[in-house]
């Protein structure tokens, strides 16, 4: 247990230091575009972390997670459209909007389990997608261009690629720390307990539904933050952020990295986006390779990358 925790902290420290060292190295070697690529990777890492909270620790297979990202992104985009650029307002707004959506849809979805839960979260994700597509005032299908990045205390700090990068890195570190606190808390233990045996947790006096719902909302809010960052990163929002393939990508990241470890989600996001980049370098039809590869990974390599960091024969 404590060994697992230490391992988590060590991997977290190494990964975050590597991220921190990347911009100067990229600059020195003349690959400064890598900074832009890596900030996108970190944004998806935040989203994957939030999904791991409910998928890995709570066994809630949410197939609509991209909706939270999209709602966070649209909150920033729509605010900007109405002249509100202040990030200290729009970022909390994005998280609140995604959290509210998580609260409403979670309250309904969590009444069900198993296949039903997967299908319902998928359906709610699709609902968000179609709703965004029909928002003709905000670009509809074509999406909405944001003419700049959010301000921080009225300063255009984030316009600079480096400061944006380190702002994202700070967000990732903060979310990671927060998530590990949640997982290690009494609340996190209850969530994991419900995953293992719902009836027993209920019998000893915990309300599984309420705990799961709170976890679902927390997860949605963190994903909403990732969405707000993503909107700033691309200075553009579109319904495509919420498409169900995006939700699928997030699940793949978490499973690829190793569920229920937090660092696995971050590693998974890095690995997935790197793999996408490499395969897309071979052929524009890279999904033809990735599809079968995914099936083989699920068939033979459960446990993901995180398993490589674990001791022999250990579980959880």
């Amino acid at each position: 247990m404590s060994e697992n925790l230490t391992r988590g902290w060590v991997i977290a420290a190494v990964l975050l230091l590597a991220f921190a060292a990347l911009p100067p190295l990229a600059e020195a070697t003349g690959h400064s575009y890598l900074t832009v690529v890596a900030s996108r990777v970190m944004i998806y890492a935040i989203a994957a972390l939030s999904l791991d909270l409910i998928l890995g620790y709570g066994a809630m297979v949410s197939f609509g997670h991209a909706a939270f990202i999209g709602i966070g992104a649209y909150a920033v985009g729509i605010s900007a459209e109405h002249g509100l650029w202040e990030g200290t307002l729009t970022f909390p707004l994005a998280m609140a909007a995604a959290g509210l959506f998580a609260l409403v849809t979670g309250a309904i979805s969590l009444r069900t389990r198993g296949v039903y839960f997967i299908m319902i979260t998928l359906a709610f994700g699709q609902m968000a997608y179609y709703t965004a597509s029909s928002l003709s005032a905000y670009g509809g299908d074509d999406g909405l261009t944001i003419w700049g990045r959010s301000e921080l205390f009225a300063s255009p700090l984030l316009e600079n690629e480096w400061s944006f990068y380190f702002f994202v890195l700070a967000c990732l570190s903060l979310c990671w720390w927060f998530a590990s606190r949640v997982v290690g808390s009494r609340f996190g233990r209850v969530i994991a307990g419900v995953r293992e045996n719902r009836a027993r947790m209920a019998a000893i006096g915990f309300d599984p539904y309420r705990h799961q719902l709170v976890a679902y909302v927390i997860s949605g809010m963190i994903a909403g933050l990732a969405g707000a960052l993503l909107a700033n990163h691309s200075e553009f929002v579109s319904p495509a952020y919420m498409s169900w393939q995006r939700s699928g990508d997030l699940i793949i990241m978490v499973v690829l990295g190793g569920m229920g470890t937090l660092y696995g989600a971050v590693l998974g996001a890095v690995a997935y986006l790197a793999l996408e980049d490499v395969l897309a370098g071979f052929t524009e039809h890279w999904r033809v390779i990735f599809g079968p590869l995914l099936i083989l990974i699920v068939l033979y390599a459960r446990g993901g990358i995180a398993r490589a960091f674990r001791g022999e024969g250990r579980d959880g």
Binding site: V61, R111, M119, S134, G248, I251, V288, L293, V298
Partner: protein, 308 residues
């Protein structure tokens, strides 16, 4: 005029409903009997349409196209079952989701390589060309009516098979309690292959029939798949009757909502505001319907017997 428009939209709704039923029927049985979540079921619908494009190019005859495409859809479905799905029956739902998601990625992209990314189409049969006049200067295409009739006929046939034959009895037993059925000596794996192949064929048939109306393009099955999920959730997993009623309900609510929601909002909102709000609310309607059903009946309207 409004009455005619309403009648036309009801027909359109029924048309969407029967297509959804054809896709949802196979899906709900596969869930019901094997507790297997198959995201790739929408791809079968897409493959049906693409196979029809190819066979129509070869034969030039719509009815021959339907027969050939159905046979090919059945074979492809069984090949997929043997190559991929079979290995995931005993896995948890998450693994099934990921593996079938992999199949979707592969086939959506594969279709793009083989047939190209541009939308394709093929005409319906000549006999069903033309329109039934509903009012002066306006008719409803016969092909669309034929589609509704064909879908209803399939539903009736399926109902007869499920309620009146031995295989149907086994399917119902499998949906209610697969472990007990297996313990009684029935080869559940073989039963599942039958169900699976049959479901693939039904989805393929829906794709073939939809081709002349909608454009045939990569990813066309994804939207249908998710609507079929909504249908199954509303109808109750494993229930053919539930899938049928829920499919018609979803088809009608979605189509009528999209046609009339803006006008309804115009009754009490500014026209410009109504034009904004109407489409957004209309696209949410079926999900709200689903949420409403789930709130009162978490297992759907007609859960298969013995499931809770």
């Amino acid at each position: 005029m409004t009455g005619t428009l309403f009648a036309v939209q009801v027909l359109n709704g029924l048309q969407l409903g029967v297509l959804l039923f054809l896709v949802a029927a196979g899906l709900t049985l596969v869930f019901g009997v094997m507790d297997f979540i198959n995201l790739a079921h929408g791809v079968q619908y897409m493959l049906g349409a693409y196979l029809a494009v190819t066979f129509y190019g070869l034969t030039g005859n719509f009815f021959a196209t339907v027969v050939l495409a159905l046979a090919a859809a059945l074979v492809l479905g069984l090949v997929l079952e043997m190559l991929v799905f079979r290995h995931f029956y005993d896995r948890d739902h998450l693994d099934q989701v990921l593996a079938t998601f992999g199949v979707i990625l592969f086939l959506n992209e594969g279709v793009r390589i083989v047939w190209g990314a541009a939308p394709l189409s093929y005409p319906g049969p000549d006999i069903l060309d033309g329109a039934i006049p509903i009012m002066e200067g306006f008719g409803y295409p016969i092909y669309r009516i034929a589609l509704i009739v064909a879908g209803l006929a399939c539903a009736l046939g399926l109902w007869l098979v499920v309620t009146r034959t031995r295989v149907g009895m086994l399917i119902r037993a499998g949906a209610a309690n697969p472990a007990m059925l297996s313990a009684l000596g029935v080869d559940v794996r073989r039963l599942f292959m039958i169900v699976f192949g049959f479901g693939a064929m039904l989805a393929g048939f829906a794709g073939v029939m939809a081709g002349p109306i909608f454009s045939v393009e990569p990813g066309m099955g994804d939207g249908v798949l998710i609507l079929a999920f909504v249908v199954i959730v509303i109808g109750g997993i494993g229930s053919i009757r539930g899938a049928f009623l829920a499919a018609l309900l979803v088809g009608l609510v979605d189509t009528l909502g999209r046609s009339f929601m803006t006008d309804i909002f115009k009754l009490f909102l500014e026209p410009s505001a109504a034009n904004q709000v109407g489409p957004a609310i209309a696209s949410m309607l079926i999900y709200v319907l689903m949420a409403g059903v789930l709130f009162f009946r978490p297992t759907g309207l007609f859960p298969a017997a013995g499931r809770s």
